[in-house]
Assembly symmetry: C2
Homo-oligomer: 324 residues x 2
């Protein structure tokens, strides 16, 4: 099928202010693979883009599973794949070290100068693709990208099994982070706000709390901030012990009154953490070490993008999918 | 001499708003050493306290060299000493790990619930004292405390000799930090603002720059923020490369518009850094690895405290001393 000449092929294209259901012309040049999107996931970053917090214009979406339709590698054609979302220049220091996600010239699927996955087709370089084993369903495969972001924490710090760990936030990303860290540090607590989400975490054997009491203060070796809110940052800094480590897993949209004084006085290490490598995420889903089925919420057809976004914004919603 | 009954003994006592030249009654109980202060140094923290940024009330000053007049350890009497400024409870987890400077019940000389060194006498536990060898002058010995704070960076991270390092700031602490790091990482640059201070650094073989150009951006593996200003923090975040490390060496008094987004996107590690151990600082002065003589500025008698503070605030001033 020649995508460029099929006027019925659709995508959710953000013009900087609103979504246009535009024709879907993948960026595909002859050296990238063309992928038919089976299923895509809505992430917090997508909601931020739609709310105008970021400057991206183009087709949204970066969590997906799809089927390769065209590729220079014949072995890939027809295969079910997920794709790393950062595409580096391939020649700079970062790219040569395997850190294309820090290339200053990079494009990022659905986030930075590269059309994304809320579309019938997308394109990515072959080297970004990972074939998904049959044991992983489409819904599960969509979690590979955010799960890789959770595994990134393990790339950045060496966790000690006796550590007391807190995760601030009970959203989709927090849910994955809690499971990933729990495999290294069993003494982990989620500080959340939403009863239904905390109940679903309790079912996985994760201790949860609403609100910080005085015994919690300065008592955690590692605290992960996964709310993206100023109040989450304040809670995080309350929980971490002197000389402890904080992982900043979400960008903090508002910047009012962020106070770094406790960071200096208590000699805290703050580590920013973003995208990760896909392999450990795929392996952990294939072996069942990480469970995502209880996070599957609803699936909307792509044309119902607006309804899907409104639904995803509700506090008790878990993962929402779009089907092109 | 019975200090308590000598009404002429004076100290610079801060009542929360102004300095009162009060009688000097050291906190000394029978289990602390009594030290006659030979010379004390004015530090940025003292200036912040006087400007009302902190909540301390009491005798100011934490950089000093003195002579032990009373002690339970007879070997100490008559010895010239400097003193670690944090006094922990001695029984908590932090204290038992040798990190009294992170004890939640600690007092801190001239900073937190403990009268300081801008006085004829002060008291500290014997375990906080370090005898100063004769090869170190009084002026040099006053630098032990801030120099220990510079050495703290080496306790916190493992530096690689091939790293490109930037220090933002050209003040007294920056001067010490630059020398300490240069011994591990020769590729070090000071980004400063004051021509005379930068000239004195150039004499020590340290490369200096005024202003950041595009080639400097995101090109340093390690950046130390030693200005305490918001603009210094902004410059620091411009200089550090993706996945690089930032040391926050000064508290940032104003908090307007601190943006942690680049920390997350570029996966920066921010490490707060405060007081350090005295031993490496004393050793480096004794062996001459660190030079502080070019930082010695003026000495004022304690009674001229106000003139000394005004002089210390001038941008080109280096270390100002008070002599009780």
């Amino acid at each position: 099928m020649d995508v460029k000449n099929n006027p019925n092929v659709k995508a959710a294209n953000f013009d900087g202010q609103k979504i246009i259901f535009d024709k879907n012309y993948p960026d595909s040049t002859s050296d990238e693979a063309l992928i038919r999107v089976n299923l895509a996931g809505i992430c917090g970053t997508d909601l931020e883009i739609v709310d105008g917090y970021m400057k991206y214009q183009g087709i949204l979406g970066h969590e997906f599973v799809g089927t390769v339709e065209k590729s220079q590698n014949p072995d890939l054609i027809g295969k079910r794949v997920v794709g790393e979302i950062n595409v580096g220049c391939g020649v700079c220091d970062s790219c040569l070290k395997g850190m294309e996600r820090h290339c200053s010239q990079r494009t990022v699927l659905g986030i930075l100068k590269r059309n994304g996955a809320f579309a019938e087709f997308l394109s990515l370089p072959e080297k970004n693709l990972h074939v998904i084993p049959d044991s992983i369903t489409d819904e599960q495969a969509v979690f590979v990208e955010p799960l890789a972001a959770a595994f990134e924490i393990k790339e950045q710090i060496k966790m000690e099994p006796q550590w007391d760990v807190a995760v601030v936030g009970d959203g989709r990303l927090a849910h994955l982070i809690l499971q990933v860290i729990k495999s290294s540090c069993p003494n982990i607590v989620c500080f959340g706000r939403h009863k239904s989400k905390l109940e679903s975490l309790e079912k996985l054997g994760i201790k949860t709390k609403i609100g910080i009491d005085s015994l919690d203060e300065q008592s955690f070796d590692l605290v992960v901030e996964a709310t993206g809110s100023n109040s989450g940052f304040v809670d995080t800094m309350k929980l971490v012990r002197p000389r402890g480590t904080v992982i900043l897993k979400s960008t903090i949209a508002s910047r009012a009154n962020l106070d770094l004084t406790p960071t200096v006085v208590n000699e805290i290490t703050l580590i920013g953490s973003r995208c990760g490598l896909f392999k450990p995420a795929i392996d952990s889903l294939a072996t069942g070490i990480i469970t995502v089925d209880d996070m599957v919420d609803s699936t909307f057809p792509l044309e119902k993008f607006h309804e899907a976004v409104e639904y995803a914004k509700k506090p008790d919603t878990l993962k929402v999918f779009l089907k092109p």
